[in-house]
């Protein structure tokens, strides 16, 4: 069973719908016990970095980090991916998981913000999550803050500067774009996650 973490920030319908479409067994849950028994965890996120405060408040931060250290596959989407980094300028007082180095920052003023729309991916070889995804495939983004390109970045996109589109290390995966809204390419990525 794949657990989609519900921390009362934003709409999780479309993520669930995409997994349903792929025939995966998914459950949207806010229960730490359900996360503990899940085979895989999806940590979606939309909106403000401060909404992640709810994680600490409800004790799910600990459950998530435990699951990660136990080797359970985790996929962070959008804000959920940003959480895997050290923090964000959007809410300096809230700590990220610090799994990847660096802080999320606002796009430079030379480009419109938020970055909304379909952008192409420069894919690095060897990613498990992006297996079979062609170079320059298009995915749908909507965000105002970006994560820097790091050693573990598996795909980057360009908007005023290059930033992390996808990142992975062991069983920890993150995507800044919305695979559930990225047509066939996005569904293929979610399918890869189901098969990990």
């Amino acid at each position: 069973m794949i657990a989609i973490v519900d921390y009362r920030a934003g709409n999780l319908n479309s993520v669930k719908k995409a997994f349903d479409h792929l025939g995966a067994q998914v459950r949207v849950t806010d229960q730490p016990e359900a996360l503990a028994v899940a085979d895989k965890i999806v940590f979606p996120g939309v909106g403000h970095f401060s909404s992640l405060q709810a994680l600490d408040r409800t004790g799910r931060r600990k459950t998530l980090l435990e699951a990660v250290s136990a080797g359970k596959p985790l996929l962070g989407i959008c804000l959920g991916m940003q959480w895997l980094f050290e923090g964000s300028e959007e809410s300096g007082e809230i700590a990220g998981a610090g799994i990847f180095a660096g802080t999320c920052r606002q796009f430079p003023s030379c480009v419109k913000s938020p970055h909304v729309g379909w952008n192409s991916l420069a894919v690095q070889p060897g990613s498990r999550l992006l297996r079979g995804i062609a170079q320059d495939s298009y995915v749908y983004y909507t965000h105002s803050f970006y994560a820097p390109v790091v050693r573990e970045t598996t795909a980057s996109s360009e908007y005023g500067l290059p930033f992390t589109g996808a990142v992975e290390s062991g069983n920890i995966f993150g995507v800044q774009f919305h695979p559930e809204k990225s047509g066939e390419v996005g569904l293929a990525i979610l399918k890869n996650f189901c098969e990990i």
């Binding site: 934003g10 709409n11 319908n13 909106g47 419109k112 913000s113 729309g117 559930e180 809204k181």
Partner: protein, 253 residues
């Protein structure tokens, strides 16, 4: 590279997709779920479903249509029409919309933009503006284009962005359904006034119109309805032409 979006709009009334000229003379164009899937398969970057005769009585019909359309749609999906409160918006999100579009309600109560953005994020709030040229400047009209507000459209776009809107969907009422080209001067004025994306709407007729609104109008996205419904223009073919003209688009998709 970030691409220019081609958005297919479904104007709906009573659960059916319709299309008129300058907001009048409606013709049936099919089932919303079927139309949306067909457009997505054809390369539409996004789908907008607008309930153009929204009343509280047919709210259930709208929510059913949203649910049916969202089920097998894996590109961004915006829904508008008759959303007046945070609760209305929540019901539409719950039925499967990714973004909501508000028009009249935002003009009457600008705080509504911030309320919805506060709960669902700015990326989920599109402020739709219907503008018509009156005495040389663009005026905001509400209630499906029936009521003049006396307000300046560009100024309102600026305010809406400041209130927390994530995108502006700007329709030229003068061009709507005429297939005589987008109003590039209107779109450009808005695109230069706000830092959020501006979606151009009203007047799409040929690939040349799209090229113009991206180049001269500085639009981030362009929306069309009639030319896609009745097969005047095939989206895949349109994107191929835009690609060859040097406009960055998601092609092949």
């Amino acid at each position: 590279m970030l691409t220019k979006r081609i958005i297919a709009c479904l104007d709906m009334t009573g659960g059916r997709v319709v299309k008129g000229v300058q907001f009048k003379n409606l013709r049936d164009a099919g089932d919303p779920a079927e139309c949306a899937s067909a457009h997505a398969r054809n390369g539409a970057d996004e789908i907008v479903l607008l309930d153009i005769t929204a009343t509280s009585a047919n709210r259930g019909t709208l929510l059913d249509a949203v649910r049916g359309t969202a089920r097998a749609l894996f590109v961004p999906f915006t829904v508008g029409g008759g959303i007046r409160t945070l609760e209305d918006a929540a019901a539409v999100f719950d039925a499967g919309a990714d973004k909501i579009a508000i028009n009249s309600a935002a003009v009457c109560e600008p705080e509504l933009i911030g309320k919805i953005a506060g709960r669902f994020g700015s990326q989920a709030v599109v402020v739709a503006i219907d503008a018509k040229k009156v005495n040389g400047s663009f005026e905001v009209f509400i209630a499906g284009g029936r009521l003049s507000t006396g307000r300046d459209a560009i100024q309102w776009a600026r305010e809406a962005a400041a209130c927390g809107a994530g995108e502006i969907l700007l329709t030229s009422m003068d061009r709507d359904g005429t297939q005589s080209g987008f109003d590039c001067s209107l779109v450009r004025a808005a695109a230069e006034a706000v830092s959020i994306p501006v979606i151009a709407s009203g007047g799409a007729g040929s690939p040349r119109d799209f090229i113009e609104v991206f180049r001269e109008g500085c639009a981030d996205a362009a929306l069309a309805a009639s030319i896609f419904h009745f097969g005047v223009e095939n989206i895949a073919q349109l994107k191929r032409e835009l690609h060859h003209a040097g406009i960055p688009v998601r092609w092949p998709c």
